[in-house]
């Protein structure tokens, strides 16, 4: 079947098998910034924004979200023009192996859209579904707090 998405602001049409999950469709079509392969929604590495809400793309049928607006971490910023969250993760040592980073940044981005002044608890709750085995989360939380400062300063 054919599906249409707006991914990172651009229109795409894919011919897909209706049984496939969004994660696989995205990766097969070059959006390899979306990671993960637990297919249970438990690690969070496959997090994307679907119409602005963070979802684990490994548990969403691609057909189910036909017509959706999808944002991956590349939709926030790229290597030449990084988003303040991306800059903050780099600066605060919140990226080790980096495999969970795209998903975590998207979860944090969704939080900051809703709440520009989150507490530490709010932040921890927002990234609770994004497992990280390297950092122990401390520097991730610091980075998100630092990104708030950067955003307020308009950087």
């Amino acid at each position: 079947m054919k599906v249409h998405y707006k991914i990172n602001g651009k229109d795409y049409e894919f011919d897909i098998h209706p049984g496939k999950v969004l994660l696989d469709i995205l990766r097969e079509n070059g959006f390899t910034e979306v990671k993960g392969n637990c297919y249970m929604g438990t690690c969070g590495a496959c997090t994307v924004l679907i119409n602005g809400t963070p979802k684990t793309s490994c548990t969403v049928l691609a057909a189910q979200v036909n017509g959706a607006e999808i944002t991956t971490v590349k939709g926030l910023g790229d290597i030449l023009n990084p988003h303040p969250l991306q800059k903050a993760f780099v600066e605060k040592g919140a990226v080790q192996c980096g495999y969970c980073t795209p998903g975590t940044i998207l979860a944090a981005y969704a939080l900051l859209k809703e709440n520009s002044n989150p507490t530490d608890e709010d932040i921890k709750k927002a990234i609770d579904g994004n497992l990280c085995r390297c950092t122990g989360y401390v520097q991730q939380v610091e980075a998100i707090k630092y990104a708030i400062t950067l955003l307020k300063e308009g950087k």
Binding site: C38, G98, Y99, D128, R133, V141
Partner: protein, 773 residues
């Protein structure tokens, strides 16, 4: 000398690429005509494949190959990516007629898509002769137990008794030591099966290059060992294989194994097509690697003044169905723990490493030391209590100090004798003081502050590890100078997410006096970079970093030689390299590295300024860490909640504080998971019942306490610019420190990890029953 680059929070050089989702991991590239590989796993813990019929599977459109023991090389090898000759037994074939655990490989299908491959697996008909299985290492050693490796593998100690290894090391006479002691304490503690849980699972892609050589792009910690072992298994020369290590999504030891590379390479060799194998999370749990569970007994004798007279440790290690890392992990259980308390003149370490029909343990951050400390550091607290000493005081009396040695260093190495070694950097007393202060240890210890059913407790533990494997681990590098004064570093070291490439850029920047941004680091590609053993044994900064440091010094010499000519001077001994310039302090002359490169490329006595260097260490200088934790435990629910965790760490000179803190905190959180929740559950037939993150709980952002890393710098003369290792040591603390805190809070000691609520409640009940009777 003033530090220019090290000690600063240089941004991790790959961090922006990772944060912006660049396609840098093994499975981020898609090659045309790729064959996708899926595996069929044994449903039995111990069975002989009597018959395997792959005809129907092969007929399925889109299937290109079905691999079984019948059509793959029957080359016994070890999957352990270790130095050669490997200390692990040659007990594994790519596929074997004898399957030895639920999750052992029976067959694989290579097909046009993952879906077709999965479909084809269902069409493979297997007839098993199911054999009795054994899961308990104590049972496995007994006469009459099933013999798991009937082929008597090269490198096993006694295959008939399922003994992969038996270790016995003695210094002095422990029995005499116990006789001389005023108190003797013996304690037994069991640790559990656990998984590394890198968020990126194992992933390998292979293809033929334009000349027909096999290229392997893999999520590996050991690219050079992959090349050697794949060559061994496939029976082809090393020269026919190139291994590329892309960015790695975490390893923690699990990727120090050759488990997908040889299969992909075989499919590519046979079909000429690219091949791809990527583990699911479930496969990662069942069929990659785990941590060796151990049952450890520690016996300590001490005089009234607190001085130890003897320490005896026995470790029974369960190495599952294959012996990969079996001997060496168990060696480290003794060698990385016992020298810490060198005041005991009588020391004995004995270990048995035993095959069972369970999933395969391998290397895991901490590498045996984690298990050893789990028991040792609780036993030390028990001795202190008997003597009326506090936990810090007893450790101050007994810990090793600068200038001292331990007979264990020489007696016990990694799978063979060790090396004589004297401690050249150490600040344990300071670590103890700062850690205690941060947690408020003396104020809180023994107070049992209660809030309803919740009781607070504090606990601590002390640790050392090593830095690389002495006289075995080698790293090397090439550095060359470019026209703008930048340099390319080609080194074999393997950054698996730790930030080693950045550390290397800082070391080179420091030696050459250039901005680390001008250091272009290219790591571990067997066609391009010189050799390095890979990422394990806390060797990144120490071994790979020293190799780069030595190479940078050689490059510096060449640069200074050219500068001397350009200045028209006789002597360059006092020249300074700073901010990209060579400066002659006496004459005040200066020349930039860029000018030097232009001159040597195009103008005079043309040559490439380039250096090659290697490093192998004579010793393995230990980092030290003192861990302190405050917990709250609920007597009604049995739930333990860590409130605050402080780790004072001496890893020598700190090259990059932010990266170092990341290593410390990450290891602590992994350790907290191991202490509180992470545990394999097995069915009666040895099947893993919880191979997913829903039922195998690793810590999430909401599970962590306040964590305070405290860096205490010392100068390690044998390390690069004074540095030691930091990556493993801090995973060793949570089990004993939380265990000691639990005792402080409730007066109970659990005999095994993880400290689950049901165990806490059971121990509380037993304690109360004891009080009644």
């Amino acid at each position: 000398m003033e530090k220019q680059v090290i000690g600063k929070n240089v941004e991790k050089i790959d961090a922006l690429a990772l944060a912006t989702g660049q396609p840098v991991y093994a499975d981020d590239i898609k090659l045309p005509n790729t064959l996708h590989i899926k595996f069929l796993y044994s449903p039995h813990a111990n069975a002989i494949i009597e018959d395997i019929d792959t005809t129907e599977a092969e007929k399925l459109p889109g299937v290109h190959m079905v691999l079984t023991y019948k059509n793959t090389p029957q080359v016994y090898h070890t999957t352990a990516g270790q130095g050669w000759p490997e200390p692990s037994p040659y007990d594994t074939c790519m596929f074997n007629q004898h399957v030895r655990f639920v999750g052992d490989r029976v067959a694989a299908v290579a097909a046009e898509s993952e879906e077709i491959a999965t479909e084809a697996l269902k069409l493979i008909k297997v007839k098993y002769n199911v054999l009795p299985a054994v899961f308990d290492p104590e049972e496995a050693m007994k006469e009459g137990a099933p013999i798991i490796h009937e082929e008597n593998p090269q490198g096993t100690y006694d295959a008939k008794r399922n003994l992969v290894a038996h270790i016995e090391v003695k210094a002095g006479n422990v029995e005499k030591g116990f006789e001389e002691a005023d108190v003797v304490v013996e304690h037994t503690f069991e640790t559990q099966f656990a998984q590394h849980c890198p968020i990126e699972t194992h992933a390998t892609i292979s293809y033929l290059d334009e000349n027909g050589r096999i290229v392997i792009r893999s999520s590996t910690q050991v690219p050079f060992h992959v090349r050697r072992i794949v060559a061994q298994v496939l029976g082809i020369p090393v020269s026919q294989i190139r291994v590329i290590k892309p960015r790695i999504g975490g390893g923690f030891g699990s990727k120090q194994e050759i488990i997908l590379e040889e299969v992909c390479a075989f499919v590519t060799m046979k079909t000429g097509r690219p091949a791809r194998a990527v583990y699911t999370r479930e496969e990662e749990f069942i069929s990659s690697r785990t941590r060796h569970p151990m049952k450890i007994t520690v016996k300590i004798g001490a005089k009234k003044d607190g001085r130890f007279t003897a320490i005896k440790m026995y470790a029974l290690s369960n190495t599952g169905a294959y012996g990969t890392h079996g001997l060496t992990v168990a060696s480290n259980t003794g060698s990385k723990t016992l020298p810490l308390y060198n005041k005991a003149p009588n020391v004995e370490f004995v270990a048995d490493v035993v095959y069972t029909n369970l999933p395969v343990p391998g290397a895991y951050r901490g590498y045996g030391a984690t298990q050893g400390y789990a028991c040792l550091e609780q036993t030390v607290d028990m001795v202190a209590e008997k003597l009326g000493l506090d936990p810090i005081a007893i450790r101050k009396i007994n810990h090793i100090r600068k200038g001292e040695t331990s007979p264990i260093f020489e007696a016990l190495g990694e799978g063979r004798e060790g090396v004589v070694q004297y401690i050249e950097s150490e600040a344990v007393d300071k670590l103890l003081e700062l850690g205690a202060k941060e947690i408020g240890f003396y104020e809180k210890w023994g107070k049992k502050v209660r809030n309803g059913s919740k009781v607070r407790g504090v606990g601590m533990s002390l640790h050392m590890q090593g830095s690389g494997i002495p006289k075995i681990d080698m790293g090397s590098a090439t550095i060359k100078l470019n026209e703008d004064g930048s340099v390319n570093v080609l080194y074999g070291g393997t950054d698996i997410g730790t930030g080693l490439d950045t550390v290397v850029a800082q070391i080179v920047g420091e030696v050459l006096g250039i901005d680390p941004k001008k250091v272009i680091v290219y790591p571990s590609d067997t066609d391009v970079t010189p050799f390095d053993k890979g990422a394990y044994a806390s060797s990144g900064t120490f071994i790979s970093g020293s190799a780069v440091y030595n190479t940078a010094l050689k490059l510096r010499d060449q640069i200074l030689e050219v500068a001397k000519d350009m200045f028209g001077e006789q002597d360059n001994k006092d020249y300074i390299l700073k901010d990209g310039f060579v400066i002659s302090p006496k004459s005040g002359k200066r020349v930039s590295l860029s000018e030097i490169a232009y001159d040597t490329f195009y103008v005079k006595k043309q040559k490439q300024i380039i250096a090659v260097g290697s490093f192998v260490s004579e010793s393995s200088p230990p980092p030290f860490a003192a861990h302190f934790v405050e917990i709250e435990v609920d007597e009604e629910t049995g739930v333990i909640t860590p409130i605050k965790y402080a780790a004072a760490v001496d890893c020598g000179i700190v090259i990059n504080p932010e990266l170092t803190k990341g290593q410390i905190i990450g290891a602590i959180v992994n350790g907290i998971g191991y202490a509180l929740t992470e545990e394999y559950k097995f069915g009666e037939n040895g099947k893993v019942l919880n191979p997913n993150f829903m039922e195998y709980r690793i810590p999430s952002s909401r599970d962590i306490p306040e964590i305070v890393p405290i860096l205490v710098e010392t100068y390690e003369p044998t390390g690069p610019l004074g540095a030691k290792s930091v990556s493993e040591i801090n995973i060793n603390g949570p089990i004993p420190a939380i265990g000691n805190a639990l005792y402080d809070a409730l007066g109970i000691r659990l005999g095994s990890s993880p400290y689950t609520p049901d165990k806490v409640l059971k121990a509380l009940k037993e304690n109360k029953d004891k009080e009644i009777f």
